[in-house]
Amino acid sequence: MDIRVQQEAFDYGAECGRFGQGDGQAGAVVTFLGLVRGSGGLSRMEIEHYPGMTESALAKIAAEAEARWSLADVLIIHRHGPLAPGEAIMMVATAARHRKAAFEAAEFLMDYLKSRAPFWKKEFGADGAEWVAAKDEDEAALDRW
């Protein structure tokens, strides 16, 4: 398990290249990459988080996924601070014996990250700055698990 909360950029390709491969146990790797969209005149984004709680919330979510889907490995990287359109915000990766487990675990992690990890996004655009509102559908997505 590898959990990283950081301001610096990360190299998605390099992380994918070294994740979950080579031990011959995993047959399936799924990764998710979240990017800042440039739509709607967005000029930048800032992500605030709750140091301490963030790390423990992510570790708890990852441990739950690892146990529930018997993952061979799990990775979460989430950035905070200022971000420009096109930049990577975060990634998750899961490795499992079969594809169903790898997909489900990655979606589970994303659903929980969206509404249970203490991050808050603020968007800066032509019309000023605005905190991103939580979506009902993100809360509803948790019911699946």
């Binding site: 979240g34 605030e48 709750y50 709680m53 989430h78 969206k114 991050f119 905190w131 991103v132 509102a133």
Partner: protein, 82 residues
């Protein structure tokens, strides 16, 4: 003394990220009442509890939870990670 933290627009409305609060509140809800009574900016930040979440010692909790033994209370809007 309890350490009280504010994040996102709660932090912006109150105007500070954290403060120490002397309180005898038994529950989170009672603490919120005390804070609301302080000043307009607190009343504004806590005007709609449905729009807020609370964590006690860095674990998500709720407004009816007891404060006994708690060292750190955080108030913030629904999270928007990912």
């Amino acid at each position: 003394m309890i350490e009280v933290l504010y994040f996102a627009w709660v932090r912006e409305r109150i105007g500070l990220p954290r403060e120490k609060v002397a309180t005898n509140a038994a529950t989170v809800a009672e603490l919120v009442e005390e804070l609301r009574a302080r000043e307009e900016r607190y009343a504004l930040a806590f005007s709609d509890l449905r729009a807020l979440r609370v964590a006690l010692d860095q674990r998500l909790s709720d407004f009816s939870a007891p404060l006994e033994g708690v060292r750190e209370v955080a108030f913030f809007p629904p999270m928007t990670g990912g």
